[in-house]
Each structure stands twice: as C-alpha cells, then as structure tokens.
Symmetry: C2
Subunit: 349 residues, 2 copies
C-alpha cells in the first residue's frame, strides 16, 4: 500500500513530521503494529527506522541513527512499538535521550507518560525538544453546540471495538484522494493520530466535552471537501457506547460505513454480550445520528475478512451485500466491491 | 420538606459530614441554590450556617462561627453559594482560612479549584484538614463490564438538561424511605454529591470510563435495596448525550422516570434543537437501556410545574397521564399523583 499522499495532515493538534520510527528492542512483530501502520499509511512521513537491539523487528524502512535522521529532515522520533503494560522500559531510555540530544522531539502513544521519566524530561529541557503523549487531549476543548458545519463527513462505525474502523477510514480516505477528491483522514485514537500527524484521542476526553471534541476535529470546510473520521467503540458496547455517541453527534456525518468482522459473535472481552447485527447497527446510527444531521445515511459495510481465503471472503461479502442491499467490501483487500462501496459513499441521495 | 432520614450516605467517595454551610457575602438567593438544597435535602447533616457579610442571604439554619460549628460536631465547611464565573473571591478567603484553622475541611463544587488558592493550601497543610473539590472524580475508575449487579435501580432521565432530575431523584428516594424501603440516593453532579455526602461527578469523568463510573456508583446490594440515581443531560442533547448513555448503560436501571418541564420547546441554550417528545425519550431509553438490563421499564413522568398554578398543573398532568398511560406527577408538589408514580416505580412488571 502507498501513503495516502493527497491526505493533508493539518488537525487540531499537530505533530512534528516527518518521523524516525523507533522499534526499541522488540522482537515480536505483534508489538510493532504502530510501526507497520506508519509504514503502510504514512510512508512519506517516515524517513527511517531505528532500533536499540540488533535482533529487533524491522518494518523495512532505511535504518539510521537519530543524528542521520535529523540530517535527513526528521523532526521527531515516534515510538512505533508497544510493550506489555504500556511502560517505557529502561532499555529504551539511552536511545530516546540520544534522539532528544540529536534534536528530535519524541512522540508516544504508550499508556506511560514520557514526562514521568526524569531522564527524558532533563534531555528534552537540555535540547529544547518536546515530549508528546498523543493520549493527552488538547486543552480547552469546548462544549458541543450542534451547529451544522460546512463540508462533508464520513464516519466509520462498528459492530464492536477493534475490528478495523481505523484502517477502513484510512483506506476510504486514500480511495477518495485517488479519485481526486479533497479528503482528510481525521484520527480519534493514538495510532491514527500518529499516522495522521494530529487528531483528538476521543476516549481520553472528559465526557462533558466529547461531542465538542468531535466538532473541533472536523471543522468547517469547503462544500466539496470530505473529512473521513476514524470511529471508536460501538453504540452497543456496554463500556464505550457513550464515546461512540459523542463522536457520532459531534461528527454529524453525512455518510457512515459499518465495520464488521465476520465470525465475531460476542463483544470483545465480554462474552455475555451478543454482538448486534449489522442491521441493528445501521438502524441505531441512523436513529441517533439524525439528531445532528437529518441527512445521515449508510454508505455500506467494511468487512475485515483477514481470517478468510479470498474466495470465501468474496462469497461471503457477495451474499451479505445482496441480503443488506448495500455494498460490502474489505477495505484492505479492495477490488471491485470496494469501488462500489466508495461510489455509494460519494453518491448523493 | 424534611431530610431524607432513611437515605444512607455511603458512596464511592465520602465527604466529611456534618457540614457548616457557608454563605459568603452573597446577597442574591439565586446564587445560594446549593445552600437551599442542603437545607431541604440534608438538613440533619447541616449543623449551622456561616456568612462573611452581615447582609448575606440566610437559609434559616442556626448562625455559628467555624469554632462553634466544630464544637457542635461539624467536620467540614461546605460552600453553599455560587459566584458568577465560579471563582473563589478574595473576600471569602479569611473566612475559609478561619474554618481550616478551626479544624474543618472545606467542600466546594465551584469551577475554581480550592487547591489553586495558596492561602487555602497553606492553611489546610497547617491544620491537617482537606480541600475537597467535588467536581474532581475519584481516581482509578474502572472500565465498564456490563456485569449485572444485585439490588434494584431507578434512574431519572430527561427531555433536556436542568429541569429537575436531581430533585426528582431526591424526592423519589425520600418517598421510598418513607414507605420503609431501603433506598440510597446516588448523586452524579456536584450539588447532589454535596447533598448525598458522596457520589461521582459523571460529566467530569473521562469518556472511556463513563459507564464504569456509573457501575461503581451503584454497587451490588441486597435484592430488595433500591439505588435512586440522579440523571444527567439527555440522550437527545447534541453535547451531552454521551454522558447520558454512559450513565444509562452503567446504571442498568430496572425503572426510569422521565423528567420534563412543560412549556420548554427547545434544548436549553440551543434554540435550533427541538425538544424531543416524552414518548421519544421513553422509547429511546428503553431501546438503549435494554442493552445492560433487558427488564428496563418506564415508571412514569416527573413534571416540573413550578411555573404553573396548582390547578393548571393538576389539569395538565391529568391530561398527560391519560395520554401516555403512565403516572405523571410533580415530585416537589407531591400529592396523590405522586403516590401513584411511586407505586408504579415499585410495582413488579
């Protein structure tokens, strides 16, 4: 996949791009999802990769030191790997201090805060560089107003958490851009924010300001401009539905795409809660979304079919499309069904 | 009205009761709503009142100094008045320092934080007393689980903000207690928390933890115990619906009561948003609430008829009750209609 080159990176808070992608001493590719995501979706913003152990995982970017990256134009080192527990291990500190001393800021989506590590605080102060935790929302988020904004908006919603809403939004934004449409990917979670170079971590916003945060995330724009907004959670999730509703109301989407992982029967981590059907998710997003955008409609379904063969996936998606009367496509596999999904999202009612 | 004497005050965070109610130098009764609320709903927890100006408003409690209040058993001074802008005026500081030095903690629901005033920080440190801002949620709120808890729960919901959900819950809790039912009022906003002596300021909780906060607010209880939970916002509010949904999911109410102010046509402060009908609010709370409690039902309607004559109010409520097929009562006026509302809330399906 190529970088979404026509997707601009301005947003409510802006990260110092481009990046040197830090891989730490991580040997398990599963812990390097952020680094792979940056490579796949923000390739042009990644000048290289840097690890602090010889056997660390690689994402195939040119290897370079912080000093070399700085010379190549990098403005920050982005932590592209996670750690069990989200901590910043002691083994990373010398490399992170080296980056700060080389004139790079540090961008992190880990649970642990960079500013809580005294060696990093001291090095940042010495070098005049920033320690940026993307899980911390911007200050002074306003209360929502419900005021209709100009421009067009698409929101990815889901039957559950963690089934592809971010990648669906990225893929749709890329497809819009490839068709010459002015589109911005709007990030609402830490990985998305690192890919986009900005955004709002919606799950970390204080509840009273949730819809207001979604409103400033996709501001007034030209009439033919599209914001493609990364969804969060699900209106049917017993823990996170409030996040999803605030995001839906504040985004006031013209179009939403329902993301689903076939085969998932219960809410992730909550086996006593049956997953809603796709139809239920469509109906509830229409019913609640019309409060701030009476024109809201469903553009189709994005299916995460990574666990299926191509043949089985196409068979399943074809049947689901017929059943629902809507385009159903895998936004990563793409193909003709995906073209139909994009056309449906773009078509006026 | 009498204090809800059988309503116990334990909750997730506990304030030091009883109180000395502070009236500052406020001459406008409209700014003393918290003090009046404390007098009306937590009379037995108020040993007296204290002002720092001779012409300050009175709520009719015995006047006493902090030292006298301490001797009478008070454990904290509660700020019972608001200020335009929510600041702590310089004219209050000597009185607040006097209270700390007399051995009272200070409880505040103002926007400004007590700890940001250095004179208060120093006096609290000197006297070993606490500065308690009830707008700050407890630490370590867990993510929601949706696990069904024992005991029974009633939630007040609304067609809008600021139309009587707190007083409806207090009045219902009091009525339950008068009928010999073991009931706790569970507070979700700063005034309610001061009245209850504990609770969670739901609008100040980080979005990801909203339902989890509601879950810890009404923990497992005896099968015949009722938690009467103060509602927040409205599922139809463009800014606050996420707060309301998290509270609904986490509260998993068996019964909800819809609070409404007849005559209000649009959302408070948002004249472009029509108020939903009572039927819409019933249907949406049923549809969304059943996700965490399939047995959820509407117990009736609490109407705020303060702007009507008694005759007009009774006429209107009678017609609405017939139309909706549910009890409709003013929880402050009470009377026979209110008895019917309580009976409906208590009746098994």
């Amino acid at each position: 996949m190529n970088a979404p080159s026509s997707i601009s990176h301005q947003s409510v808070s802006t990260l110092p791009l481009p990046y040197l992608v830090f891989l730490g001493d991580t040997t398990e590719p599963g812990y390097a999802k952020t680094a792979f995501g940056l490579r796949d979706w923000a390739r042009e913003e990644c000048v290289g990769q840097y690890a602090c152990a010889e056997d660390a995982v690689s994402v195939g970017l040119p290897s370079m030191t912080p000093t070399q990256a700085k010379a190549a134009g990098a403005r920050s080192l982005v932590i592209g790997v996670a750690n069990p527990g989200g901590v910043i291990p002691a083994s990373w500190i010398p490399a992170l201090v080296e980056a700060l001393d080389a004139g790079l800021s540090i961008v992190s989506g880990l649970h642990a805060r960079l500013k809580d590590v005294s060696a990093l605080r001291e090095a940042a102060s010495r070098s005049g560089q920033k320690l940026i935790d993307v899980r911390i929302p911007p200050a002074n988020i306003p209360v929502g107003t419900g005021r209709k904004r100009s421009g067009k908006r698409l929101l990815t919603v889901g039957t559950d958490c963690a089934l592809g809403k971010k990648y669906a939004a990225l893929s749709i934004a890329q497809a819009f851009a490839e068709r010459g449409i002015d589109a911005d990917f709007r990030a609402t979670g830490q990985t998305g924010i690192m890919i986009a170079g900005g955004g709002v971590p919606m799950d970390a916003v204080i509840s009273d300001f949730e819809a207001g945060a979604a409103e400033i995330l996709s501001p007034d724009a030209a009439d033919n401009h599209w914001d493609i907004i990364e969804g969060q959670g699900s209106l049917y999730h017993p823990a996170y539905a409030g996040v999803s509703l605030g995001l839906l109301h504040g985004s006031q989407p013209d179009v939403f795409v329902v993301c689903h992982q076939p085969g998932r029967k219960t809410v992730l981590g909550l086996p006593n809660f049956a997953l809603p059907t796709i139809e239920e998710v469509i109906d509830l997003n229409l019913a609640l979304g019309k409060r701030t955008n009476p024109e809201i409609r469903c553009g189709g379904i994005a299916m995460n079919t990574a666990a299926f063969s191509l043949e089985d996936a196409e068979d399943l998606m074809g049947r689901e499309s017929k059943r629902l009367g809507l385009p159903v496509a895998d936004p990563i596999r793409k193909g003709r069904a995906f073209d139909a999904l994009i056309a449906s999202c773009l078509s006026e009612k």
